[in-house]
Symmetry: C2
Subunit: 199 residues, 2 copies
DNA sequence: ATATTAACCAAACGGTCGTTTGTTTAGCAA
DNA sequence: TTGCTAAACAAACGACCGTTTGGTTAATAT
């Protein structure tokens, strides 16, 4: 069930709140069919209400996309932060591997929200587009920090290494099938390819 | 040929043929806005004709998508094959690098067709989807061959290494900007990260 | 008990969608 | 010139789109 547990106003809501169901439905549809191919009627049907009722919770379709993106970034960021906080490990490669494992587990683990972040952004609304890109960049800054800490023989290699890691990880959604290796194992293999091969 | 061919199928077209313009317009729109967000009216306007006229050349919208995919795969495959044929080099890493450079140059070099192949496939038509996946898989088989030829210390690493390379390369379309390093240079850096660093 | 209002329904708005149908124009062969 | 046909136009079809509007229901605060 569901969605962002806001902690700021901390209002437990007076009554039945199906806003979460709406966002869940939107996330599922956006992930599976993409934003443009998803209609408000699809989302409404999945959420068990009529199309017009969606506008009580969200003012427009693209507001739903923003909300899903925000929640998706929030979730994957939380997973990575939690993984990094959970290890006493200080060895840079191990930290990067732990972060990548959390990243890929979140993406490939079946959740809809974070996968929407990887989909193509709407090209017609540049303001919206910029907003979503900023969201994702804020998250990916973590990997910049992690990669900078690596003991590389060539420091100039860091950006390329980082692009490779994130690119390979994000592209995994194209070929990964739930039956295969665990996402964490994939992450381990990816990191292993880049470390050279010290015993 | 002595006898008259009644109606030769391979006719070089008798007259002004704007079918190419239609396909170009479709490729450009599909790349920039995606399949679902592109209307037949958009394509028609770009091609300089009315919406209904498109149906003289292609029977349906998804036929246009298939045609663009086929041409996109054909082009990138031709680029890679040409690059491989053009080098007398037999060293496996160098061959892989040359192939990847051609791959990325085609993708990032501004052509619309091949980039469409990397976009998300329509989820509602599974037959169409399978057809497009088969097309792409046929192309990517080249990299399987190239990676198998690598002198790896651990032969089991080959699939992961291949997934990393193609994933990183394909994801480059998300962050690559025409002003930056040449695609071939990016390819070189990617390969360099994976070779370890034997002098 | 009453007033309030969160949450939804019911029905439509104008616009756009992919596609079809019938008609017209222009280059070639006879 | 006449006939053929490739290649387009012109106009519409029903379906669906995102969104709006006004009314209904039921839980809560007073």
């Amino acid at each position: 069930m569901t969605t962002a547990a806001k902690h700021a106003p901390a209002r437990p809501k007076r009554r039945n709140n199906r806003q979460g169901a709406v966002l869940d439905a939107a996330a599922a549809r956006f992930r599976q069919h993409g934003y443009a191919a998803t209609s408000m009627r699809d989302i409404a049907a999945d959420a068990g209400m009529l199309p017009g009722s969606l506008y009580y919770h969200y003012p427009a379709k693209n507001a739903l996309l923003v909300a899903v993106h925000e929640e998706g970034v929030r979730r994957i960021a939380a997973a990575v932060d939690h993984a990094l906080a959970g290890i006493p490990e200080l060895e840079p490669w191990r930290r990067l591997e732990a972060a990548l494992a959390a990243h890929m587990e979140t993406l490939l683990g079946g959740g809809d929200y974070s996968l929407v972040v990887l989909r193509d952004l709407p090209a017609d609304d540049s303001a919206l587009r910029a907003r979503l890109v900023r969201l994702r960049d804020g998250y990916e800054a973590r990997f910049k920090t992690l990669c900078r800490a690596l003991p590389l023989t060539d420091p100039d290699a860091e950006p390329w290494l980082r692009m490779m890691i994130l690119g390979a990880a994000n592209w995994a959604r194209v070929w990964y099938r739930p039956g295969g290796k665990a996402p964490a194992e994939v992450a381990r293999q990816f990191i292993s390819q880049l470390k050279g091969a010290p015993p």
